[in-house]
């Protein structure tokens, strides 16, 4: 039992904005009161928030590990020595599993969602997540180029697509439906892409629009806790903001989350005309509360880009002339990895940087826009405190704006935005908002019944320093970090949905499965014995 007293509490889901409030903890949960014998943490001069929740990060899986394998030169830039409690590891842009858990904890993050898992790699993802300590975690299953789905849609068999999805989420122990460049990744398997929502997908006679609307409908019909999580077509391409807006239009009325929207808010017809269309995207979101986004802010410096969007990564390899890794995944997805350096004085990179900030600052409702760097695509997650400072400190932002390529001053609205985020708003975009969008009702807040995942930050003027130096991090009520030192090698839970299934339909899946896959049907699902700890979210239809 534990009581945190005298802390300045930011708990947006319960409307608490900086008031001094006691937080009582028993058996890993937040409770109304605890006896006087409870241990006390005095949080005077500290800010108390729920643990951070990352709604979109690439921390585990076939692609992430291929990225680690591709970049030995990256790991030398950050080594993490073992301690008596913790394991050793390496960073920098694709940290090893243990390091990932420790680094997130050192920022006060307690739950992280792995954003793109091809179903056949789900077992691998979960095995890696077992070796990712400290945090709770879950994963999104990529479906936008799944050939079962494409075939069902081609034949107009919506119900089968829905039942297949339910079976697949159960089999892979996924948390949400992810779509990556719908149709484009399928076409990439013969070296092509799609250029918009109404292009045809080779051999399947369906369009990205049909895939998007069907999966959004399935998401709705299965009552999944999170909206359908979408990486739009045409990522990275000048002029792609039109595709992004079309996607949002096509899914009006559905629960949708668009991810790393910075990479999808570009104007111009070619690279020389590259421009920010963040104001247009923000304007749409300000009118349409059905959608949430995460930003995918870029961080200047070296990083490793990785995505299921194979065709884009090939283009990026040709642009950057860096080494290129590609691995297409049978019947399901793709994967491309390219190292990349974002440069302050490169005008495209500088405008990308500005676009991310414009999205944060121009979208009025903080419950619609969440913190992300699309780790590690825009940059490593360890830079979240730097982004927080850019959002909370206009002077700091202006200094940076003057330092980067001059076209940011000239061609974007960023220099004219005076908004500064409050701590309350930061608490929304880094924990309360993602929890709400994910439907994680017991996370992201400090109300009675919530998981006692809590972080205490020092009250500092420099917000970057404040958010990179939590004084305490608690997981399920246990102090796992104090003054920067990890005190416990905590085993977090893996969270997944559990859906009712149409058992009879499994035989039909099995027939096609056995024809085209290379693993046995019975060896495909990930069983509960795989998990070190888990929490299943039962969903009824």
């Amino acid at each position: 039992m534990l009581k945190i007293i005298n802390g300045e509490v930011y708990d947006p889901l319960n409307g608490i904005n900086g008031g001094i409030k006691e937080i009582c903890i028993r058996d890993g949960k937040i409770v109304d009161e605890v006896p006087n014998t409870a241990k006390i943490i005095d949080a005077s001069n500290l800010v108390v928030m729920p643990g951070g929740i990352d709604i979109h990060s690439h921390i585990s899986g076939l692609k992430v590990n291929a990225g680690r394998g591709l970049r030995p030169e990256d790991h030398r830039r950050m080594v993490i020595p073992k301690t008596r409690i913790t394991r050793s590891g390496t960073g920098y842009t694709i940290p090893s599993t243990f390091a990932t858990g420790y680094l997130y904890t050192k920022l006060g993050y307690t739950t992280v969602m792995e954003a793109a898992v091809p179903p056949i790699g789900a077992r691998h993802t979960h095995e890696e997540l077992n070796d990712t300590p400290m945090i709770d975690k879950g994963c999104y299953i990529v479906l936008g180029n799944n050939e079962f789905i494409l075939r069902y849609l081609q034949k107009g068999e919506y119900e089968k697509a829905r039942d297949y999805t339910a079976w697949l989420l159960n089999a892979t122990k996924g948390y949400a439906i992810k779509i990556v460049n719908p149709g484009g990744v399928e076409n990439w398997k013969y070296g092509q892409d799609v250029s918009g929502l109404d292009d045809k997908v080779n051999h399947f006679d369906v369009t990205p629009r049909q895939i998007l609307t069907a999966l959004a409908q399935i998401n709705q019909d299965l009552h999944l806790p999170h909206g359908v999580h979408i990486h739009c077509n045409n990522l990275g391409v000048p002029g792609n903001y039109r595709t992004t807006l079309e996607t949002l239009h096509a899914l009006e009325g559905k629960r949708v989350h668009l991810t790393h929207v910075q990479f999808h808010s570009y104007g111009g017809e070619n690279w020389s005309g590259f421009a920010s269309k963040a104001p247009e995207i923000a304007e749409y979101l300000n009118q349409h509360p059905h959608a949430t986004i995460d930003v995918g802010q870029i961080i200047f410096g070296d990083t490793t880009t990785m995505t299921a969007d194979g065709p884009w990564q090939y283009r990026l390899h040709k642009i950057s002339e860096k080494k290129w890794y590609n691995s297409d995944v049978e019947l399901e997805s793709g994967c491309g990895i390219v190292p990349y350096v974002y440069k302050e004085k490169n005008f495209v990179n500088a405008i990308q940087w500005a676009i991310g900030l414009e999205l944060f600052l121009l979208i009025k409702n903080p419950w619609q826009v969440f913190m992300s760097t699309d780790h590690p695509n825009g940059g490593p997650f360890i830079f979240y405190p730097y982004i927080i400072r850019l959002l909370m400190d206009k002077n700091f932002r202006d200094e940076m704006t003057k330092r980067v390529h001059k076209r940011v001053l000239k061609d974007t609205v960023l220099p004219h935005i005076t908004r500064e985020y409050s701590l309350y708003e930061i608490a929304i975009i880094t924990r309360a908002g993602p929890a709400k969008a994910l439907g994680l009702t017991h996370k992201g807040h400090l109300g009675v019944g919530a998981d006692a995942d809590i972080v205490l930050y020092p009250k500092l003027e420099n917000k970057e320093e404040m958010f990179e130096r939590p004084v305490y991090v608690l997981k399920e009520g246990e102090v796992i970090l104090q003054e920067g030192q990890i005190l416990k090698d905590w085993t977090g839970k893996t969270i997944f949905v559990e859906l009712p299934e149409n058992k009879a339909f499994q035989n039909e899946i099995r027939d096609d499965f056995e024809k085209y896959y290379t693993v046995e049907f019975s060896n495909y699902p990930t069983g509960l014995e795989t998990f070190a700890r888990y929490e299943s979210v039962k969903v009824s239809i």
Partner: protein
Amino acid sequence: MEKISDVTCLFCGVTCDDLEVFVEGDTIKEVKNACILGKATFMNHKADVAIPRIKGKETSIEACIEASAEILSQSHFPLIYGLASTECNAQRKAIELADLIGASIDTTSSVCHSPSLQAIQTVGDSTCTLGEIKNRADLLVFWGCNPAEAHPRHFTRYSVTPKGYFVPRGKKDRQVILVDVRKTPSAKAADQFIQIRPGSDYEVLTAMRALLKGEELEVEEVGGVPISTLKSLLEKLKTCKFGSIHWGMGLTMSRGKHMNVMALLLLARDLNRFTKVVASPMRGHGNVVGIATVLTWQTGYPFAVNLSRGFPQYNPGEFSSVDLLARREADAALIIAADAFANFPRAAAEHLSRIPTIAIDAKESMTTKIATVVIPTAQAGISAPGLAYRMDHIPIPVKKVVDSPYPSDQEVLKRIIEKVRSKLQNRV
């Protein structure tokens, strides 16, 4: 007799998971669907089982674990090596032990496909899972590898004969080309065999890249292959819909090593300007891809990892086992599920017999013969369940089909870790 279905075979990187194993008590009576190598692995599960011993004297497993913990906790520069013929949970434990004692940890890739890993680290790779090849490949090139003998079911499960979604007629929809220095039994499956001069892979591949770029070469042949043959091979690669190139130890363990593989990877990459071409290493004795995978997620590096400074460092040549041993740097060795002594060059093998060496293995081997401590274990994939990785990095669950009197590799390593930990704590 009990029938167990969908059993995974850990013998090679094809990692077939469709075996049917018939057991009676603790004996395997029959195996179906396996190739000759897989079948032998299962049917001979009771042959050559190792005996627990210290300095040649038979003793209990417990005593062996205690002796191992003592050796490892006293060592200043221990080497942990092998880990191919075991499953991933044991591999996890081996890395945990290496982290604890500050060991160098290395895998059998070190003397096999590590040049492939280095080449991929240098230039990347355009590759895919095996099902993509099954469903799409209309052109297959096998270069410096001999699947018919080394990966027997590759042709029938993944590459040459299976009927795929976009190649519904199987072999009739595909062309198969074999490139090698000698005509191996794999040539029977090929439509064309191109024989190159030993040691000329780099030259031939680089010449092909030049030809692809439109350069004219002022020679009539390269590596014993007429330019016209290379041009026609390139034409096939450029005009296929989905070309799949597979390479083996013919590239990695001949002169040029990772440079040979790089040349092949760059050729495949260049071909993507014309059509879809992928390139994949024919990896895998046992679950060697598993140890590379787990080592990479835990440390960032796939082999030759040193933890003596308290964090992972990687440097083939400095931390690869053969080099460490030949320079006589390691002062103790733990060899797990691999036969180091039989496979290492003499100078390295000899050092193993000079220092305290611990062998954890289901079977007797050249290594167990020279080892100070021998700990027999339940054979992964037969008497110990777990996880394995196929050559294309697809994870496959591994079943246990019969009991063994011995603990698993994972269990033995766990107990060694516990003992080492308490010894190290007592010392402080």
